[in-house]
């Protein structure tokens, strides 16, 4: 049990690390918790210990710098722990986490939630086959284990990740059968002005794309994978051209492959916010359900601050500045005098945000996206619930995510609805002909991750059972 921490930060990605580092400059106790053993989050994920040496990448360099900074600072880094619940008491927060099979908790006077985002993958026929994984998912393996995925990969999706995955797959010795992207050349041209702000990234991206053409790898702009086929794993994909609103049209085309990396953007991991009492609102520009927020990471919960992609998908550069601002908000909340130039940081954050938002724009769902989910497509992966079953439940009167969940178990499985709630929300909104922001996600319930009975129960003495008054007879 750790008590009386000044600032606890959940998440050690670019946002969390920056919040921690800046707060640590103020002679306050700062603890940063994260699921991974080393700081870096998803975007700067550390290589596994199996990698003794490897060529540097911009991500590994940035990650190395931040890991170094953390280790040199006064930040207490609690790595490899899983936060499973967050409670609010009168003037403190209690964070419950699992550390090596034991449930621990810490009290802190202020809290910064920097838990980031997860991938949104539109359900399509065959998306549950072994060999289908997300795009951010693929990059996690690339960064951590430096191996290619499968031997012939098709990448399908939106935004810059499509080209990053394709490039990394090749760089690590794998093959790309084709790149399929919903975005058109025009979509990217619209993003160009914002990209000029980051010329290195622009150049890097152009290299990836030109290399694809030079290596004669087919690139299908304005297309999307519509079906994945295979018996016990992927053997080929069907893909189609899409209209401006992303509705698939025309004749199906096919590509043989043994894995598919697909994704339609990122969405904030909003469960921690729900647990602590931060209200959610819907904003398609920022990835769907996002926490209600004020300037500098402040929220409706006193002493609780948010930053990074969890607060809305704005990218890693914006996450860094957001982290600094949220860290300073926590510091100010505790009564210390701020010596950092807040206005300057806000300006940097605004610039970084407009870049990030231009990138996110490429992934904002368009009406045709949901058409990819056929009636027989499994929407809730964990419980195997199809679109048809969900729509039937809605037609029988289920009007909310809670009642759909209760009726057909969609969202009740192992992942806790993390990969299906977005699609379910869309289906309900469509059926009710109402805007999606009127359909709220289900009530958040701990644990945030599955935790074993042993971990939660700890040591137990039967004689410790309270001998309460027996129930009335």
């Amino acid at each position: 049990m750790i008590t009386d921490i000044d600032i606890a930060i959940i998440g050690a990605g670019p946002a969390g690390c920056n919040a921690a580092l800046i707060a640590a400059e103020y002679n306050l106790s700062v603890v940063m918790l994260d699921e991974q053993a080393s700081p870096g989050g998803q975007v700067w994920r550390e290589k596994s210990r199996a990698i003794l040496n490897a060529p540097r990448t911009p991500e590994s360099v940035a990650g190395g710098l931040i890991r170094n900074a953390i280790s040199q600072s006064n930040v207490s880094h609690l790595g490899g722990v899983r936060v499973w619940h967050i409670e609010r008491s009168e003037d403190a927060f209690v964070i419950h986490y699992e550390n090596a099979g034991v449930s621990c908790f810490l009290n802190c006077r202020s809290l910064v939630i920097a838990t980031g985002a997860r991938e949104y993958v539109q359900p399509i026929p065959g998306w549950t086959l072994p060999g289908v994984l997300g795009m951010a998912a693929a990059t996690s393996i690339f960064k951590q284990d430096l191996i290619p995925i499968g031997s012939k990969m098709v990448v399908s999706g939106t935004g810059p990740l499509v080209f990053f995955v394709a490039a990394e797959q090749q760089r690590l010795g794998g093959k790309i059968s084709a790149v399929v992207t919903s975005n058109t050349f025009l979509d990217w041209m619209k993003a160009l002005p914002a990209m000029l702000f980051r010329p290195r990234l622009l150049f890097r991206g152009l290299r990836w794309i030109i290399a694809l053409y030079v290596n004669r790898i087919p690139v299908y702009w304005g297309h999307t994978v519509t079906r994945v086929e295979g018996k016990s794993s992927v053997s080929r994909v069907e893909f189609k051209k899409i209209r401006k609103d992303w509705t698939p049209q025309g004749e199906p085309k096919f590509i043989d492959c043994d894995c598919v990396s697909m994704g339609s953007g990122l969405i904030p991991a909003f469960e921690p916010f729900q647990l602590v009492g931060i209200s959610l609102e819907h904003n398609s520009d920022l990835g769907g359900w996002v926490p209600k927020q004020e300037l500098d990471g402040r929220t409706n919960v006193d002493g609780c601050f948010i930053c990074g992609d969890g607060a809305g998908i704005r990218g890693s550069l914006a996450a860094e500045t957001h982290g600094k601002l949220a860290g300073l908000s926590a510091v100010a909340f505790l009564g210390a005098k701020i010596s950092h130039p807040i206005e300057k940081l806000r300006r940097e954050h605004a610039k970084a945000t407009s870049f990030g938002e231009a990138m996110s724009k490429l992934s904002i769902p368009r009406p045709g996206l949901t058409k990819l989910t056929t009636a027989q497509t499994v929407v809730c992966r964990c419980e195997g619930v199809t679109r048809a079953e969900i729509e039937e439940e809605i037609s029988l009167g289920a009007q909310s995510t809670i009642s759909v969940k209760s009726g057909v178990r969609a969202g009740m499985g192992l992942c806790g609805g993390k990969f299906c709630q977005t699609a379910i929300t869309d289906l309900i909104a469509k059926a009710k002909s109402c805007p999606v922001n009127e359909i709220v996600p289900p009530t958040a319930r701990p644990p945030l991750r599955p935790v074993s009975v042993n971990t939660l129960a700890g040591d137990f003495n039967y004689s410790d059972l309270p001998i309460s008054k027996p129930a009335p007879l």
Binding site: L396, A398, Q399, V453, N454, F460, I467, A471, L473
Partner: protein, 352 residues
């Protein structure tokens, strides 16, 4: 309870409308552990409970009803004494409860901890899938042509010339009579009518595991009442026992208390050691309303002739569908098969 009453009233020729502040069945019936056990019912309520079980049985597959039989276990001499005393009285009240030997228990439930000192068994016990409550009643209401509104956040109730007007933010409903069946929210609801009902809410915790190989086939209880354990056909295990969380009905949903949860799960593990590595997927709380004498409120709201109250049943999940019917009959001015419980009665001093 409200839905069961409405269905009975409709069957008797009335035109009820059901209003719920959220989704139907999500206030309590949809969020409890689903236990249907005569062994945990009050002696005087046993006739109601037995009929409640019959209601659930007739609802059948639509609510995932399973008559598995249930065991209540005692691990110490004190618990065994408690068990014998209480179960004997419940058996006398009509519940088919018998005491079983260790070898019978072990044969039926080989995975239970082997330190059991005494055990009772009731063949009528089982469970239903509480999550299906809402779906079930919505379908029945539709089938019977009974109107209902979900997400109806009631703001005010006003008397008008031939009844009452109930308002939410953007609609109003007129009715000649009112039935308040809002469970833990009965206190604030009756306050709107100027009546103070001594309704309190317990905040009961339930947890569910991932799917596991079948470890138990019966509903398992504990002599102190502090544990209910059941494994559903899909392999998930539901753990309850009335461990208290935090929160009030006015705040919306309750929260779990981590110390409470720890004890609840530790007891479950003690009783069924094989679950030690099973992972908990979700823990949540549900409100259970009660009044100081722990008997139901079922009758006219004190001071009113055409406003009724139903709730705080003590075993509300089990008894709800049956007492709802009785309430419907009462409002239809028929004689009820079993007596109801006057909400205007004197209550003992509330002992927390």
């Amino acid at each position: 309870m409200g839905c069961a009453s409405a269905l009975q009233m409709a069957e008797g020729g009335m035109k009820p409308i059901v209003l719920d502040q959220g989704d139907i069945g999500q206030g309590a019936s949809g969020v409890n552990a689903g236990t249907l056990s005569l062994q945990i019912k009050r002696v005087k309520l046993m006739p109601y409970a037995i009929r409640g079980h019959q209601e659930w049985e007739s609802m059948g597959d639509d609510v995932g009803f399973k008559k598995t039989g249930g065991y209540t276990l005692a691990f110490t001499d004190h618990e065994a004494e408690l068990l014998h005393e209480r179960m004997s009285l419940k058996a006398e009240a009509g519940a088919p409860i018998e005491f079983v030997s260790n070898s019978v228990l072990r044969e039926a439930e080989p995975n239970l901890a082997d330190r059991v000192v005494a055990a009772s068994y009731c063949a009528e016990d089982g469970y239903a899938n509480s999550s299906l409550t809402g779906q079930f009643y919505r379908a029945r209401l539709k089938q019977q042509g009974v109107q209902y509104r979900e997400n109806f956040k009631l703001l005010s109730v006003e008397a008008c010339n031939d009844g009452y007007v109930i308002r939410s933010a953007n609609t109003a409903v007129k009715a000649k009579k009112l039935l308040f069946s809002a469970g833990a929210w009965l206190k604030s609801l009756s306050a709107l009518m100027g009546v103070e009902l001594p309704v309190r809410a317990r905040i009961n915790t339930v947890s569910i595991t991932e799917r596991l190989p079948m470890l138990t086939r019966s509903v398992i209880g504990h002599a102190t009442g502090l544990l209910t354990l059941k494994q559903k056909a899909n392999g998930t295990l539901l753990i309850g026992g009335g461990w208290q969380g935090h929160g009030t009905p006015e705040q919306g949903r309750g929260q779990i208390d981590t110390d409470s949860l720890r004890s609840n799960l530790a007891l479950a593990r003690h009783v069924l050691p094989a679950i030690k590595d099973a992972r908990i997927l979700r823990s949540w709380t549900g409100f259970e309303a009660n009044v100081p004498d722990f008997y139901p409120l079922a009758g006219k709201l004190p001071g009113y002739e055409d406003v009724f109250v139903l709730g705080c049943v003590r075993g509300g999940y089990t008894i709800g569908p049956y007492i709802g019917k009785l309430m419907g009959d009462y409002i239809l001015e028929r004689t009820t098969e079993l007596p109801l419980f006057d909400p205007g009665r004197d209550f003992p001093e509330a002992v927390t």
